[in-house]
Amino acid sequence: MTVTVALVLEQTLNGLQYGVMLFLMAAGLTLVFGIMNFVNLAHGSLYMVGAYLATAFAAWSGSFVLGAALALPATLLVGIVVEVVALRTLYERDHLDQVLATFGLILFFNELIAIIWGRAAIYTSLPPFLGGHIRVLPGVPYPAYRAGIILVGVTVAVLLWVLVTRTRLGMRIRAGASNRTMVSALGVNIRLLYTLVFGLGAALAGLAGAMAGPIYSVQPGMGEAILIQVFVVIVIGGIGSIRGAMVGAIVVGMADTLGRAFLKPMLATVISPPAADKAGPALASMLIYLLMAAVLFFRPEGLFPARGRS
């Protein structure tokens, strides 16, 4: 296979698109993990909830955009309810308890979704205006919907950056990450702050789910498949850091996509093609984990650790 500039460009866009998707998930997870010191395995469930709600709202309103727009506050609400009802009591417990409890939530959500919508994947179609292609360069068409995902993802990243670095809410969130008792002793309701952060993370996961609907299969358990990569992202990026989540997501998205696309032809230039046929896919699927291992070895705190965490 010939590797052309156009192909490399297209795959880079693919990697970027996958990266921003991971970023939307990782941002919420890393905030919750970093600020509340809380391991939330059920983050993938909120992604699934977002996908289902967006699909349901889209079917009801007849508009994909409206469906996604409604799914955002709805997932935020689901996140807040989960935090208030189930997770609040777990902050003081150790991580193993949190893992067990949130694993239970995964099962709960999967069954709940199966009861309401059934186990079969449900059909979601692309909005017609995003069904076509855009020309990135002459001769390089790119699906408009995926380009849209990149756009939305980058926009959200910028907004999040503004929120965290430029607003008082963001300052309090960061302050809470370093010293929650002090934030509380200065008159800030830290519980409410946690609930908001959790809701925000849920809404971001919901957004990722809503956008994933038309390209992936919307079915129970869809959240777990992506969750592992998301954990890899926040470990690479540095726990608790939005910037780390962004960089980690792009790194993982690029490494995974480019690895799948070009590792085999690259290997074939070094070792025999049949051996490359065998090793290529195996190595490509391990690539992000190898990357994570390398980061853990050389920079155990991640590439951009959140400042001020002890």
Partner: protein, 233 residues
């Protein structure tokens, strides 16, 4: 203004406070003295709601505040400069001041960033530095500024001069005096008896979780035996 009445506080099974009572009047500067480990910081933590007294009452401006979570206590009008300063290391100086700022009492002339920078010109120069990058003295000033930004009616300073160079210490005391002159009520915990007797109106001495002596600055100056026995000076 603040009335603490026979509070008892324990961490798990080990009781630290055995019926501590004290009072701070409006515009007063009151100190809480005693050697290390006698319960001074626990008293502050109990007042702030960080530790929960198992008995006794705490009233602030006529409202019972014991049992409230820390943020409600703070919102009621208490400002804390904690032991060890505890500035937010990952926020800049300006962000440290702004993040939790409030003017809940609706003061006509509230503390804002500029007056704080006026009080501590050193901070103004480092407005964009991270809290964690400041020197100990600067962090102390920042912690005081941060508490002032919540416009408290009573400001509590817990070991505000501990571990600081004499020059910096003097700077802090100068600022405390300015606050007092401005009518700020203060509860001070410190070991610098000389400075305290100069500034404060009344003193309480804690020994093994109990108030063993209280009186005015004049009283305390006159009682070298008390100073020697309980404060080791």
């Amino acid at each position: 203004m603040l009335t603490v009445d026979s509070i008892e506080t324990a961490y798990g099974v080990s009781q630290v406070l055995f019926g501590v009572s004290l009072a701070v009047g409006a515009g007063q500067v009151v100190t809480l003295l005693g050697r290390n480990g006698m319960g001074k910081t626990t008293t502050v933590r109990s007042i702030m709601g960080i530790a929960r007294p198992r008995a006794g009452t705490i009233q602030f401006e006529g409202r019972a505040i014991h049992g409230l979570p820390p943020y409600r206590v703070a919102q009621a009008g208490l400002g804390l400069v904690p032991e060890g300063r505890q500035v937010f290391p990952n926020l800049t100086v300006r962000e440290n001041l702004v993040a939790t700022a409030a003017n809940r009492a609706g003061s006509a002339d509230p503390w804002r960033v500029e007056p704080v920078f006026e009080l501590f010109p050193q901070l103004a120069a480092r407005a964009r530095s991270l809290g964690g990058a400041l020197s100990g003295g600067e962090q102390q000033m920042l912690a005081i500024g941060r508490a002032l930004m919540t416009n408290p009616r009573l400001l509590i300073l817990d070991e505000a001069t501990e571990g600081l160079a004499p020059l910096v210490r003097a700077e802090i005391w100068r600022c405390v005096e300015r606050l007092k002159a401005g009518g700020q009520s203060l509860l001070l915990i410190d070991k610098d008896v000389g400075a305290l007797t100069r500034i404060a109106d009344a003193h309480y001495i804690l020994e093994k979780g109990q108030i063993v002596w209280s009186g005015t600055s004049a009283d305390l100056r006159a009682r070298a035996d008390i100073q020697h026995r309980y404060l080791g000076v």
